[in-house]
Every structure is written in C-alpha cells, then in structure tokens.
Amino acid sequence: LLGEEVAQYDGAYKISRGLWKKYGDKRVIDTPISEMGFTGIAVGAAMVWLRPVCEFMTFNFSMQAIDQVINSAAKTCYMSAGSIAVPIVFRGPNGASAGVAAQHSQCFAAWYGHCPGLKVVSPWSSEDAKGLLKASIRDDNPVVMLENELLYGVPFEMSEQAQSKDFVVPIGKAKIERQGTHVTLVSHSRPVGHCLEAAVVLAKEGVECEVINLRTIRPMDIETVEASVVKTNHLVTVEGGWPQFGVGAEICARIMEGSAFNYLDAPAVRVTGADVPMPYAKILEDNCIPQVKDIIFAVKKTLNI
C-alpha cells in the first residue's frame, strides 16, 4: 500500500490503521506529495507483479496523476497485446464530502468509467467495501475503487459469511438491495442509502421501490437493471456526480438500446448532483447533492402521482 499518510499516520481517514505497525516500511509506504510520480511508480511496480494498492487521499488529487492511470495502466495490456499486465488498485474517497468546497468534492465515476481497460467499482456497504477491495486486489487488471468519505463512519451489519477470510464481491455484478414492483431505483455509493430511505417513505404511500446497488461502474451490470425495468416499467437513476455524461446518462442510453425500452411506461429519469462546482455554505451544499426528497419527487414524477 502506498500513498500519502498511509503508514505512520494510519491513513488520512484511518483506513489503513494498524497496517504499518503490522507490516512495516517494506509493505506500507508513505509517499511525498507527488501524485504523478508515486502513481507512476505504483503502475511500474504493478507491471512486475508487486500488486500495489495506490491510495489517493481523495480522487480529486488523482487528476494530477490521471495520465498514469489511463495511459500507463489502463491501456498497456491492450497495447502490448496481452504481454504486460497491470494488476493494481487505485483507491480513495470520491465525490462530495461535507463543507470541503469545489476542489475537493468532485465525483470521478464517469471519468474513469469512460475508459476501456479499467475496472471501476463503487462500494456502498461494509460488505461491498471489503468484498470489492479483496476482489480488486486479486484481479489482474487496473481497478479504480471509488470509496466515500462520509460512508467511512457509517456502520453496516455484516453477515458471518461476509466476515469470513476469503469473502469477495464479484466485480461486474449489481446487487438488489430491496425488492420492489413499481419503480426501479439504480444507484451507487452513498446515494444507495438515500434510495433505501426514500423507499421506506414511499412504501407508506403504497409505492414499492426496487433499489439496485450497482457496486461496479465498469463493467456495468446493465442486465440486472434491465430485468428490473421489465418488472417495474419505471426507472430512476441516482448518483452524486454531475448530470452531463454521467453514470445515469449511460444507464439511460443502454436501457434505450436494449430489451427493456419497450417495457418503460415513462421516460427514464436521472437524479444527480447539481450542475455546478460544489459551493461551501451548508444550505447551498445541501442543495447540490441528491437528497431523499429529490428522489421521492423524481419517483412520483415518473409514476405520475
């Protein structure tokens, strides 16, 4: 594991607490503030099968190193016709936090999800986080794992099975968190929780939402979404990132192209972050992220109730 503050500080968000103490300097490496440099170093080490995990303190800083992620990591297997693999994981918090303002709040799901050669995962629950991280490290390809700072402090129940040593969550498979019949809510990361909250409120009004947790942005499990839309005939996508060219836009495009289109009783609807750089003042920030009320509103609009 390498990155800023991952070793002696126990991780900027304490995610790597205890690891340096247990594994030492050889395996847990504090880097200087040199994203482009240390990301390239991590990618080079991956080419020789060291299987590094490269942490970005937030994905906003990955922009400085994005050339190494895309051009050096994602494309190399293809360019070399399979002779050089890059088994690496890039991970860190992504998207909006609380009061960190414009330069520290961007969601990169769409940017990384755009690129062939990468896998992109986005955990919501503890089970997702553990299972996807293990699967990502074991994967022989470059994986971008988009965590969420606000979720770091949220506890989730974990089954016995999920707590077992070799538990993995397969990359490329979505999970239906809640069964429903009237509308399909598709989301990833923190907004999955908002969808479930919205589903509870809507259930009192007799609307049963099916909530799908994508878990993986690329390769996207559109089949699970399609099967759900065939059942519910209504689709609402929910994400924290900006609307233009976002995850929701991709889902809508694929639904249109696929078998589920003919089962839609209304156009698919997207709930996203507001199309502005993130402001600081709480009242402004709160209105820039998709809230439970926004999801409920979108569901009622699409169901025409």
């Binding site: 050889k26 490496i29 880097t31 200087p32 040199s34 482009m36 440099g37 240390f38 990301t39 390239g40 170093i41 991590a42 990618v43 080079g44 080490a45 991956a46 080419m47 020789v48 099968w49 060291l50 590094p52 050339d67 190494q68 051009n71 050096s72 190399t76 297997c77 293809y78 360019m79 070399s80 016709a81 399979g82 002779s83 050089i84 693999a85 890059v86 088994p87 062939p116 050669g117 896998k119 022989d140 390809n141 390769p219 192209e257």
Partner: protein, 374 residues
Amino acid sequence: ASRVMVASRNYADFASEATFELKKCDLHRLEEGPSTTAVMTREEGLHYYKTMQTIRRMELKSDQLYKQKIIRGFCHLYDGQEACCVGLEVAIKPTDHVITAYRAHGFTYARGVPVREILAELTGRKGGCAKGKGGSMHMYTKNFYGGNGIVGAQVPLGAGIALACKYFGKNEICLTLYGDGAANQGQIFETYNMAALWKLPCIFICENNRYGMGTSVERAAASTDYYKRGDFIPGLRVDGMDVLCVREATKFAAEHCRAGKGPILMELQTYRYHGHSMSDPGISYRTREEIQEVRSKSDPITLLKDRMVNNNLASIEELKEIDVAVRKEIEEAAQFATTDPEPPLEELGNHIYFNEPPFEVRGPNQWIRYKSVS
C-alpha cells in the same frame, strides 16, 4: 551469438582483444568514475558491430517503408544513437529491466525482439511483436516495458519497476531512459526524490541528442547539464557515440545500484540523424552541415569499425561480410513485414483485460459486438 562468415584470413591472424582509451566522464557528486580504459575482445567487437549495424539498417528500412506509406502514424528513428542501446544492453543482464520512451526500436531489438517482428509491428501486421495493436511506440518483450508515448511518463514507471526489484531482492536493476526534452518534466523530479529517498536500484539515463523535437537544449533548459539535474543523485556525463564508453559507464552505474547505494543518473551525449519523427525533415532547426559533421567525425558504427580494423580485431572484408548478412536479414524481415496479413478483425476486442473470462465489447454501434478474450 552470431555466426560470422570469415574472409580468407585465419582466426590466428587477428588479435583476440585490444585495450582502448576512453573519454573521461564528467562527474557529479562522485569521487571516481568509470574506468577510462576498456578491453574489447574480438567476439565482443563483432557482436557490437553486427548489432549496431542491424539497428542502423532496420531504421533506414523503416524510413523507406514509411515514405512508401506502408508504415503509418508516428515513427521515431534511432539511427545515430545505436551505441547507446547496444552499450547499455551489453553492460547489464537479461534479467535486468529496461524502459524507455517512443524512440524505442533499437532497444526493442537489443532486448531480443527479432527484426521481422519489429518491422511487422510497424507495418501493423499480425506477426508484429504486439500483434499489430501497439505500433511504433508500443513494443514490449520480457523485461522490456516499451515503448511509451507520453513524454516522461515512463520515468516513474521505471522507478516503480526498481522498487519491485528491491522488494523481490533478486539483485536486479532497472534502466529508466528519457530524452533531453523529457528531462524538464515535473514527474521526473518527483521520481528523483522518491528514488533517492527509498534508495531504488534505478539508473536514470538521459539520452541527450541535443534537440527535443524542434527545440534545441539551449532553448529548453535553464541548465543543460542533464547529468546534474538529479541534484542529490550522483551523475555522470558519457560519450554516447562510443559504445565502449557507454558500456563502461553502465557497468559502473549498475554496480552502484546493485551495491544498494540508490539511484544514479547517466547523461549519454548522442545524436539522431533523422528528424524527431518521420514528419520532421530535421533541418529547420539544425544545419545539414552539423548533421554531416557528426556523421563524418562521430558515427558510432564507423568509430567501432575503425577501432577494430586499426587494432587488428577484424578485417574490412570481414565487416563488409557482416554488412551483407545484415542487409539480407533486413530485406527478409521487410519482406515478411509487407506480406504478413493484418490482424483479423476479431483481434479488435482482445486483450482489454488480462486473465479474464471472455466478454463482449461494443463496436461503433450497439449491434456491432466483438468478443474479448485475454
């Protein structure tokens, strides 16, 4: 090893080896430098000669094929710089690692890829070393990581390979090359810092051919002492036109790294006869006279030839025979490269991922799908 047809003289007529005086290297933060004398055996000389000549003729053939539009896109030729890649290769082990930028054909050959596979990759055929999917700038082989198109990006990669070498503890090192143009990239300085901090077994090598595309070093760098740019990293400036100088310097640098002293920097002063790439005639920012002067006074192959003949390590006829053999090999390789078929369309979707079950990849519209196997 190469089998060489010997002319009418006997082996006994030649010396088995000779000793040569080398130009002293400029040193930075080093008390002593590489040896200023080098011993070269007859076998070594013949090997260096054949290898450099093969690279020379391969690059000239690429020039020809490019002008015939059989090679397309980018093509950055290495003729003039042969002593660098050959001198480096013979000073390290096959288990050591090498990474460079886009002017990579010479290294690709030196690291073991046959000429026919290099030329076929340039012509985009299925017999190319990357099955036609990489092209000029993306050729790889065992312990050779390309072939990298983004200027300077290969430098952190090389340090990462060195980090893995240190981790695995097999006494391997990584040669990380870049040009005088790339030397001003910020990520290289980030890499110097981390390589020195963590004592990575990395030899940073700046191939200074005096021009970054059309910009001379004087116009690009506040300090053109590239061997000093590593600041806290010891450095040496080497005559990159002399294959023995490069060899000795590399041996010195390799020893430094293997002894656990951390990274070291070598600046190889060299020259490219061609322009930056095939779209650059190479004479708008430098004079024909300058190019001609280097060719007549410092050509690496001529330098080696003269040394060998003057020291009775080989005869002119013998070297001419090698030239003939090399030309033949290049012709056959070019023949292969121009007749081998292009990769099948099915190849389009392959190798997106490594070690992955087959899946489908989208083509230009939703109905066109390609299978992707890894």
